[in-house]
Subunit: 366 residues, 2 copies
Amino acid sequence: MVQPSAQPLRIPGGPVSAAPTVYDVAQRSGVSIATVSRVYRNPDSVRRETRDRVLATARELGYVPSANARGLASRSTGVLGLCFPDYADPDAEAGAEASDDDDAAMLYSDQIIRGMERAARRHGYALLIAASLNGGPASLVSKVAGRVDGFAVLARTVPTEDLEVISRRLPVVILAGPREIDHLDHIEVANADGQRELTRHLIEDHGLRRLAFVGSEESSPDVEARFRGYREACLAAGVPVPAEPDHRASLMTQTEGDRAVDVLLDRAGEPPRALVFANDQMAVGALRALERRGVRVPADMAVTGFDGIPLSRLVRPALTTVRQPTVRMGEEAVGLLAQRLADRTREPVSLMLPVTPVRRASCGCG
Amino acid sequence: MVQPSAQPLRIPGGPVSAAPTVYDVAQRSGVSIATVSRVYRNPDSVRRETRDRVLATARELGYVPSANARGLASRSTGVLGLCFPDYADPDAEAGAEASDDDDAAMLYSDQIIRGMERAARRHGYALLIAASLNGGPASLVSKVAGRVDGFAVLARTVPTEDLEVISRRLPVVILAGPREIDHLDHIEVANADGQRELTRHLIEDHGLRRLAFVGSEESSPDVEARFRGYREACLAAGVPVPAEPDHRASLMTQTEGDRAVDVLLDRAGEPPRALVFANDQMAVGALRALERRGVRVPADMAVTGFDGIPLSRLVRPALTTVRQPTVRMGEEAVGLLAQRLADRTREPVSLMLPVTPVRRASCGCG
DNA sequence: CTGAAAGCGCTAACAC
DNA sequence: GTGTTAGCGCTTTCAG
């Protein structure tokens, strides 16, 4: 049987010809492009017979609807986005290679991706993820923003000014960190609460009263909040309340945690009995430094971190820390986006998610 | 200062007016739309002065380029995709909630996402991820395929027929499983090698000669390959070679692993000394069942799994298994896609990635 | 270096 | 049920 109008069929694997469009399918199956469109968008609105014919030719031609054209015409994509910074702690990567497997390198962002992916799936959305890499005028932003119905941004990934502009066009939710723009939806975690509770535990349950807090040089709202919680616990327990962290690391990496130990223990005066780090990475580095110096943990020195990264459980002694609800953050983010997509006039929401202290060996528990 | 032509500026947070387009920016900054376009695509081709003016109005208007329109016009998106089945082992989810944290629920697909995300980032692509949920005629496919420059599919996620059609239009790489379509790029893991080595270890290093293999009812190429490796090891060691798995579970879940133990141990004849499961989930379930029955692992019974999921390390005794290079699979997938995008005429590639046996307590090691 | 004009492939009213 | 007709917002020659 000879094909009426040309449109030569292709041999799979051969060079690719121009992709067939609704027009090709329509012409070949003897209907209008509108009908072809309907077959894909709302199958029931087309007579069964017609539909089958269209689907058959589509298949025959290798027709794949262009989501771009679709999005352009319908102004919606069915995709949610996530932008985050290019976290790449060289220490972490190195540690992972040496480690038993890949899990140690699981990052904060990976967990959020997991949460968002699951939630997005439930809501019928796909997820577009992009890490900032710095490019042209509106690189990351234009890459994601123009392609999704709404998206989440990890704090400080996108310049506030850009966010301001974009958020005028589509729903954006800010994750972690402070609410940079007050009319946006926002999700943060109870940093202060977590650090306060952990510190209280050290002081009251373990009877430690000489503590040292290690923060970061760079001002970070998260770290500040944690320090605040630390101070509150000291205050409540009648322990001297420091005005400043005992040490500020230049980066919150393992190497810097290691260095912090040297700084703190070589300082004049009586050394602390507990090292409270603002994140797990530094605490892990500290564990190594202490071992090297022959300081026993937790017998001679308690150590705590913050975040609850997988690595915290793998090190010996296992690290006492405060776990952030990362997966849940991702889920909540999708929830907020979905809600705002449904009602743009809704009042901006700010969620504070609870954290959970995890007591392990490094503080003397377990 | 009064604005010349209307285009009212908006108050952040207020109701959203129609999004500004190149036309708005062009008109307002006194250039043509072509120039606006150039400013974003190739900044150097526009006089600095003009460019700054355009960028300024763009910002003022809250202009965000539409990636859809861009993709439509330029036929490329800068996005790679990943499709995978909606793995949702109820057992795993439940276990995770009870567990210390979220890591236990890290799935195979999550690891691959990690690998692809990192690699995509390095190659300058964003990643679109979508789990199959079954929808209209070409649901998953049309959602992803029309939106990306190329994508990876976890075996059996998309009907082979659909894949056949789509792969005529854009690069596709098949992950794991058999190469359903022989002219596509393909990545698989050395299932047989891994299982053979693990089995050899059980027989030669631990002196076990009465083993039982648990596969799946549903025919799965991965499981078949693992069983093949198992048989090869038996053959090489002079142990009786079974024609069929000793048991086939209906699903490869924890519950079924539990059931398998009952079936195997309540069978007439001498019970096995080692249980070799085709995946970790079942092995974990078996561990629980054995404990309940008072069978000591590994003293009375060795147990092994396959996959190397995080949970395998968390259970007690820790599970001996074979780790799949999941993250690397994701990375390689991006690599293959990037290469094919650069040269469509390239010969199809099939990669076989090595796996690594992980000896832990459940087989008598560690 | 900049502008004009022709699409890219699809959806969405609105007729028939 | 199905066809017609406009765009959606941007890129891309081709002129100037």
